[in-house]
Subunit: 238 residues, 2 copies
């Protein structure tokens, strides 16, 4: 781990994006703990840029919900958003709608593209099933495969606005999912079947069924996650 960040790309206008992705990765992976304060000047000096691009990145992160203004303090003081059971429930239900809509669009894809998509989804879910059966579950692999499954149909079927929404919202669910997957890898069997149901619904070109299947998958995930959170407690609340 080197403490000095690498030099920022020289492309015009890339600095805020670099800062954004750096901070988001730290938050999503938990290295910036929920509740942590984020100080503009610290980030700026660590990433070797001025406060201006940092401000841009922070504004975006705040808009997307990764950071919030400290609730206890009065002044605008950005802090990493806490992980709470209630927030997880709401977030998952929103993702359910977004991806459900994408799945609905997927049923309207031209036959060629739809078949290609269905093939990909089937392959991914087969690997997902194998991974879920492993004696020693590989959390990262499981998460990766589940994420890819959902991302695939969103990328292919959703329009630009829906994709943008998905890109903004989904990584926040990742904060919870990483928690979830490492504590509940054993309970993934239903997810395999739920994915299969999604594939069937898209194949039969039934928009309502496809949307429902995706929503069911996420609502069940929300329930399972809720139990885990209830057990292990929330983060960043004190």
């Amino acid at each position: 781990m080197k403490s000095t960040a690498p030099a920022v790309t020289s492309v015009r206008g890339a600095r805020p994006m670099v800062v954004y992705h750096a901070l988001r990765a730290l938050i999503v992976r938990g290295q910036l703990a929920p509740g942590s304060r984020i100080v503009e000047t610290d980030v700026a000096s660590k990433l070797r840029v001025s406060r201006t691009p940092v401000r841009g990145a922070l504004q975006r992160l705040a808009h997307e919900g990764y950071i919030i203004d400290s609730p206890s303090l009065q002044q605008s003081r950005p802090t990493v958003a806490p992980l709470t059971r209630e927030d997880a429930m709401e977030l998952f239900s929103i993702v359910a709608e977004i991806e459900g809509l994408a799945a609905r669009c997927a049923t309207a894809l031209p036959a060629g593209k739809r078949d290609a998509l269905l093939g990909e989804l089937t392959t991914i879910n087969a690997r997902f099933e194998r991974a879920s059966r492993a004696k020693v579950p590989k959390h990262d692999l499981l998460y990766e495969l589940d994420e890819r499954f959902h991302r695939r149909y969103v990328e292919l079927a959703a329009g630009p606005r829906l994709r943008a929404l998905h890109d903004a919202v989904k990584p926040q669910a990742e904060r919870y999912e990483r928690l979830y997957v490492s504590l509940l890898s054993r309970g993934l069997a239903p997810s395999v079947q739920e994915h299969a149901a999604i594939i069937r619904a898209i194949r039969s070109a039934d928009p309502d069924a496809a949307q429902r299947a995706v929503q069911t998958n996420w609502r069940n995930a929300a329930v399972r996650l809720g139990q885990v959170i209830t057990n292990v407690g929330e983060r960043g609340q004190w």
Copy 2:
């Protein structure tokens, strides 16, 4: 109309919000035409602030989709996002999901709050019906009542995340709705009944029905709007 803006509030951190709301209002009401260039220094001088708060406002507007980087030009040059049929369709389907989810939550409201909400919605819809029957339709009133109807259940039933999403997405639909309402005020009769269906579904505490009712309302609105756009053409595309 005075050309010099009033002095900005002295509250700390309020300038970007003032700029944001000023620009957003201009865009939503069409006074800043789709395709128009937005120049930081111009806005700054018109609103008597420096470029810094203007940048903040522009970043947020860009993130929410009101302005985009000019497609023809190479450099990052903010322009007012065009109004296209395709975008309207996607936007409305997203709003349908967001408000549909809110309506679903509304069915889970405690009985007291739910009854209060139902009363409000009934009142609003009655006024909406009367307004829609008027010989000379008042476009602004119609829009206002429809907007209030939907906003009410979102405000009461949705969680913070869903509300934030709604606040970010819905005003963009307003750009299209204002166009729609002024060209199609006569076709609002079905909307009255669709609203009534929403009320019935919430009253019967049926989550799926409530969600479906809202989605139907928006999908029909999308179809009606699509026809209008096809007739009058798109804006800001050339």
